[in-house]
Amino acid sequence: MTLTAPTATRNRGRAPQGLPRLFTPGTADFGAHRAAFGELPHATGLIDEVAAAGLTGRGGAGFPTARKLAAMGTHGIAIANASEGEPLSTKDAALLTYAPHLVLDGLELVGRAVHAKQLVVVVKAAHEDVVRRAVGDRPGGSRIVVRVTEDRYVSGEASAVARVASTGIAKPVDRTVRLTSREFRRPPTLVQNAETLAHIALIGRFGATWFRSLGTTSDPGTRLLTVSGDVGAPGPIEMAGGATVAQILDAADTDPAGIRAVLVGGYHGTWVGPRDFARPLVPRQDGSGIPAGAGSIYALGAGSCGIALTAGIARYLADQSAGQCGPCLNGLPALASALERLRAGNRDPALAGRIQGLAGLVIGRGSCHHPDGTAHMVGSAMDVFAVDVSAHLQGYCTEVHR
């Protein structure tokens, strides 16, 4: 099904050909946005079109978007999550600055498709002004509520976003039912990443076939990636889906030969060694590629110690625990301490086992995925930096410590 119902009076705008898509024209001006992309399309058939497009969430989990939309109860709350708590990611900030109306178009479209009674945008304090201005420039924008959340890592978790939208507390909640289902004292809640909504705004106008004209079968469309670390051209970049790590490094003016490892998907992501630089990004872990997560790509230069960096990230993640759940609150600092001992070159032969054990101990034992993501990242680090682990356990390191 396509959205070419006769609406002769609607100016549909031009479908972007090739790249970039999201940042043509790359403006916060509402008029210019409408001139480039045309009016907001009908929402009828949107969910089917998104399903045909194969769009997956761009917030980290990579869940099939159409499935989430279809599961959403009526008269609920649709939330655009633009809080971007991942320090290695700036793609959503870029969207808010250079294409806020695409995000808001997506939110309005999705709101109509799921018959939401309320639309909310959740942002960090730094972006409150730019979003309020964009909302104010839109016809009927006053019905969109803007909520400011904390600049903490776990504030970006879906249940924390839902909670801050209703009670102002930016911490995850224990759940036995999905957010999209109705619960006692909580309406159905849809949380979508800002970038996901931006893609929906274009799929709604130009269709699934256009969306799939770039990307691969397992990762259709385009993705916003944030490249950082020892790269030539850091920053957000839009690339076709299914790009390999080598292609991404190349697009960021970086020679893969000079890179020790890459952290794909943010602080909860996966460390990848040169052996796997030819593997493509995929939305979710399915064995065929590297999970893209929130789309951040951090490159560790050759000669840098991955253990040192991993220990630093683990300590940051431990500090970012919401502090509500015992295993996370206690387990993550213990894990970080063990990694710090490893970084310092502690010769305890049981240390590697202790690190793996602590990582395994916290998985699934919290009300959100913060401990799971941390454990996953640490596990991949111990694997990719195995050589450095051995060196550290013998008390030395040949690399530079950051």
Binding site: G323, Q324, C325, G326, L329, N330, P333
Partner: protein
């Protein structure tokens, strides 16, 4: 006949005080999350509940038997309104207060799943004044209050509860507290 009611009232009152004391001590042990001897933690919880419920039974016996004794001059209104009694209104009033508190604690405990942990816990703090008021009532109102064995028993109970309460305030009271960070709730 009224002699029998009177005796039953006195006797059940003494037993009630003993049961309440044991219940408070078991409650503190429950809160500490520790087992005792061969009794596992869930056993401590169950015994605490059962002793508490048994004390409710003895409270009913105590009150009903005194209602049936004309010498006590206890009216139904004295069961809920404190300090309005015909005879020694103050000490009787303490008993009424204790009964009212006992009702609140018992009902909230039985309905814990429905009213939630927070409300249950808030009302449960009343067990401290409940026990203290019940003891005072027994010492002031009770006919055995002048006897040595009763005073000795009351002293022992007071020492036990006081020591346990002091233990309650110590850092290592709850199992594992010394070795972990506590969640913010």
């Amino acid at each position: 006949m009224s002699e029998a009611f009177w005796a039953l009232g006195r006797g059940s009152g003494v037993v009630l005080l003993a049961l309440l004391t044991v219940s408070v001590l078991l409650g503190l042990l429950t809160r500490s999350g520790r087992p005792i001897g061969r009794l596992p933690r869930f056993g401590v919880t169950l015994v605490h509940r059962n002793v508490a419920l048994l004390s409710v039974v003895f409270l009913a016996v105590h009150v009903l038997s005194l209602l049936g004794d004309p010498y006590a001059q206890l009216r139904l209104v004295d069961l809920v309104v404190p300090f309005a009694g015909a005879q020694s209104p103050f000490w009787l009033g303490l008993g009424t207060l204790a009964l009212d508190l006992m009702l609140a604690v018992t009902i909230t405990a039985l309905l814990r799943r429905w009213i939630g942990q927070r409300v249950f816990r808030a009302v449960h703090w009343a067990t401290y004044p409940l026990w203290s008021i019940a003891l005072a009532h027994g010492l002031g109102q009770g006919s055995d209050a002048r006897s040595t064995w009763f005073l000795a028993g009351a002293a022992v109970a007071a020492v036990c509860v006081l020591s346990a309460a002091i233990w309650r305030t110590s850092v290592g009271f709850v199992e594992h507290r010394r070795h972990r960070l506590e969640p913010v709730r």
